[in-house]
């Protein structure tokens, strides 16, 4: 398997095939003499924008801490939660618990649902 071609930037789906964003980054553990291992999937603006330019990554990090769901740590999903790697990558987690769709839930609750016709369901109510 090739990571850049087959894993990075792929869509993430949770255990009910709900969309969870994309694989924006991957965390690799290296040691002095041990084989490098990719242990986590990283999701989120800070990870994503850093790929374009480190300054953009820093700005995204700061904004994530100040606005919306005000998340301080990056969203990381352990590779052990990956079920399949194919067209998309499916995980065996529930979307709303993984932190990957915090922004979606926040915008739904604070903005969209306040507008008439916006609906009143949570994005992942498993219907």
């Amino acid at each position: 398997m090739h990571v850049v071609r087959d894993v990075l930037d792929k869509k993430l789906l949770d255990h009910e095939d709900e969309s969870m964003g994309r694989i924006d980054g991957l965390v690799m553990q290296i040691g002095k003499s041990s084989q490098p291992r990719i242990t986590h999937i990283a999701v989120g603006g800070a990870t994503l924008w850093a790929r374009v330019h480190p300054t953009l990554g820093r700005i995204a990090r700061r904004m994530a801490g100040k606005w919306g769901p005000k998340r301080r740590e990056k969203v990381r999903i352990p590779w052990s939660r990956v079920r399949t790697v194919g067209r998309d990558v499916t995980l065996d987690v529930e979307a709303k618990h993984a932190g990957a769709i915090d922004w979606e839930i926040w915008i739904a609750r604070h903005i969209v649902e306040r507008i008439p016709g916006g609906g009143h369901e949570e994005p992942d109510d498993g219907d």
Binding site: S19, M20, R87, A108
Partner: protein, 404 residues
Amino acid sequence: MKKILQISLGIVTAVGGFLEIGSVVTAVQAGASFNYQLLWAVLLGTICLIFLVEMSGRLAAVSKHTIVEATRERFGFPFFFIVMIGMTLVAFLVLVAELGGIGLSLQILTGIGFPWWAIPVSFLVWLLMWKGTFGLIENGASLLGLVTLSFVVAAVRLHPDWGSAAHGLLPTFPGARKASYWFVAVSILGASISPSLMYFYSSGAIEDEWDESYIPINRLTATLGMSLGGFLSMAVLVVAALVFHPRGIDVQKFEQASLLMTTALPKWGFTLFALSMLFACFGAALEISLAIAYFFAQGFGWNWSEDLAPSRDARFCLTYTIIILLGAVPLLFGVDPVKVTVMSMALTSATLPLAIVPFIFLMNDPIYLGKHRNGWLSNSVVLIIILLSFILAVISIPLELIGG
């Protein structure tokens, strides 16, 4: 039966995507200034679009990915970001032009200036996206868009010399006013070969849940749909050639263009023009707003679907809400939609390579298309389009400055 109805995706893409303020303005200018001479540009644009749209549909049906999704996944985010910036900026300008087109149509019908229509029109476009489903938009816009067939009726009633018109389908070099000729030619191509149209169509194919069995209907839809669009544009050009050219009228304002059909259809011509523009621009505004919102949502991996209630794809809906609101702003300040149209077409030509070059890579990717990859014919056409788009990119801006 359902598959045949898919033709409506082709029609809405044609009428809202192909025939909109840009193509009408350029077709009228072409006919008024150069008689039938530039029909070849419309034909060329139509042929290119048929191939590009067919490929967009095929990519979506086979890979179950839209062009945007496939671009991010195969090229990575940093490259994708460059494409996104270019495409969405130009698309936003086109949105302003289309919203302005709706406003201008209402202006000539009611006498109330288009800046006053900016807010109500944007609100209506937004409301339709907020409450409507993809099917409603697709079919509604198609049906209403059929009023543009009145352009064909007008053309026939004016008894053109079909022989000379047919001559115009072959490229000729201009005698006088060379810069202006090539500028209009480039504008016609910029108005027809619009990447937003491709992005919209491939997303529509996913919304309509196409799969490999839809490949034949996709070919039919793309061909018939884009041919209809091209045919309508040609009708506009022919009418303009017959009405404005003999009188030496250089059409610069929307109000002048509105007299297009009054010679052929004295009683209804004016109203039919206004309604045609109204519905075509409305369809276009919906498509462009969707195309931009799709770009963000698909690129970043958000939920996106016109069929979902807004709270289920909140970021997607917030995106199009903000875009439509922003689109109304220039119009509120009285910025001339026709000028924005002309500028947006030059910029579309200039940024075309950004969209088409990654696209040819995708259309040859066995991972996405398997045995449905491009054959030699499709690849040859795309390579020619890429060449054309680089030429357009290089000459469109200078030409606008000289000949516009």
